[in-house]
């Protein structure tokens, strides 16, 4: 199967900086803005300067993680957030994702929850965005040329659900790197480069094409 991780393999800590819009897209898509009480209210607002969101990947397995492959079924993900600069007096706080009641989520549940809105390849990004120029030009011929965006339902409630998924495009690159980075960290999984017409997936892996970094 995959190579056992060693202390020198792959990044263990990934950090990306970005604007408030990406936070808000993720909050909406991951169900955080729907949380009851103060947390839900917080996740509907613009996060303060130097706010931080963290996804911790961990295992309770007692096997020595520096010499053996970690079984994905024993890996969990925990999402945490702090509004404004995080310090020891103003700690990260865990929150449940995707409407679950548990802040500790199995790796598989995290991947399937994220896959509901994540965009894993440049080609899919082009398709979702309806872009056909520049780096999307090579995909434009294959029916991904970008039909006009569907009109929103004039139900008077603002942005319709039909186009809500498109907003996810804003967070796509963040989520790509998130899942890619987390996948690399789990010893039992391996990224497989997706070739046209011959998609391959290893056990539980998320296929990702080369996304410009």
């Amino acid at each position: 199967m995959a190579h056992p991780p060693s202390s020198t393999s792959g990044p263990k800590l990934g950090v990306q900086f970005g604007a408030y819009g990406t936070f808000q897209s993720y909050f909406g898509l991951a169900g955080l803005s729907e949380l009851s009480g103060d947390p839900g209210v917080m996740f509907q607002q613009i996060p303060d300067y130097a706010s931080a969101a963290a996804w911790e990947l961990y295992t309770n397995s007692s096997s020595n993680t520096s010499t053996t492959t970690v079984d994905p079924s024993q890996v969990f993900v925990r999402f945490l957030f702090h509004n404004g600069t995080t310090t020891s007096d103003a700690d990260l706080v865990p929150y449940p994702l995707f409407g679950s009641n548990n802040v500790d989520m199995s790796w598989n549940d995290f991947v399937s929850g994220s896959n509901a809105f994540s965009v894993g390849t440049t080609e899919k990004w082009c398709q979702v965005c309806g872009n056909s120029t520049g780096s999307c030009a090579e995909y434009a011929g294959s029916a991904n040329g970008g039909p006009p965006p569907r009109a929103s339902n004039k139900s008077g409630s603002g942005i319709s659900n039909a186009v809500a998924g498109v907003i996810g495009a804003m967070v796509t690159l963040g989520v790509i790197f998130l899942v890619e980075a987390l996948v690399l960290l789990v010893g039992g999984l391996r990224l497989v480069r997706k070739r046209k017409g011959a998609g391959q997936m290893t056990n539980g892996a998320v296929a990702a094409d080369g996304v410009k970094a």
């Binding site: 950090v15 990406t22 130097a50 961990y58 600069t85 995080t86 310090t87 690159l173």
Partner: protein
């Protein structure tokens, strides 16, 4: 002399928690910056301090060997570039925030600690007191976001921009705009240097707010009596 206490203390972390953190991904907002209405934006000293403090926090949480959430196998003091990955869009505020953050995470180690021996036997002290150089990779989306008054425009994603624009046709938006007309007209004396009459509305809520209060969370003396 062998003592019992150190052995017991060494066992303590294992007894308290059997959790091993394999890795962490962080998405971080930039520190305090100048207002978008007076471009180009730049990270302020306050913003730099904010990301530095945040980096310090995360060092204590994930890098220190004694931390309960220490990431397995990660270097605590001297960065090992293959273990970390930092990125930000092509934007001065975001790139600088990332850089400031890495300095909180892996602060300078001192010239002597990072000294290296040259082939001729002489010792080379690490420059800048052992300041650790950490590359910040670029993310292709979101370039120039902190200079842009409309974030969605920087995603280069056609349908997302169309989707955001749909908001301006919604009842929710139009109602709020009408309801707050009086409020924004009342702000005119303090924002009309930057916002024309037609721009003094809910449509520019965020930007007029950030113009008036460039530093979030601090109280300013009144600009003028309205």
């Amino acid at each position: 002399m062998w003592t019992f206490t150190p052995v017991l203390l060494a066992l303590l972390p294992t007894l308290v928690s059997s959790e091993t953190v394999l890795g962490v991904y962080i998405f971080h907002r930039h520190g305090d910056r100048t207002a978008k209405s007076t471009p180009p934006t730049s990270l302020t000293d306050l913003g730099y301090q904010q990301v530095l403090d945040a980096g310090n926090y995360f060092r204590g949480r994930y890098l220190n060997t004694s931390a309960p959430l220490h990431i397995a196998g990660i270097n605590s003091t001297s960065v090992k570039l293959s273990q970390v990955s930092f990125s930000a869009p092509t934007d001065n505020v975001l790139q600088n925030s990332a850089q400031g953050f890495t300095q909180g995470l892996y602060p300078p180690v001192g010239g002597a600690a990072a000294a290296q021996t040259l082939r001729n036997g002489s010792t080379m002290q690490a420059p800048m007191n052992g300041y650790q150089l950490i590359p910040i990779g670029t993310v292709s989306s979101g370039a120039g976001s902190e200079d842009s008054q409309w974030l969605q425009d920087t995603t280069s994603c056609g349908n997302a921009e169309a989707s955001s624009n749909q908001y301006f046709y919604s009842n929710e938006y139009n109602m709020l705009k009408d309801q707050t007309t009086g409020f924004y007209q009342g702000l005119s004396p303090v924002i009309n240097s930057t916002f024309a009459a037609s721009q003094q509305s809910y449509k520019n809520a965020y930007n007029s707010w950030s113009f008036l209060f460039p530093v979030e969370g601090t109280s300013l003396t009144p600009y003028a009596s309205i």
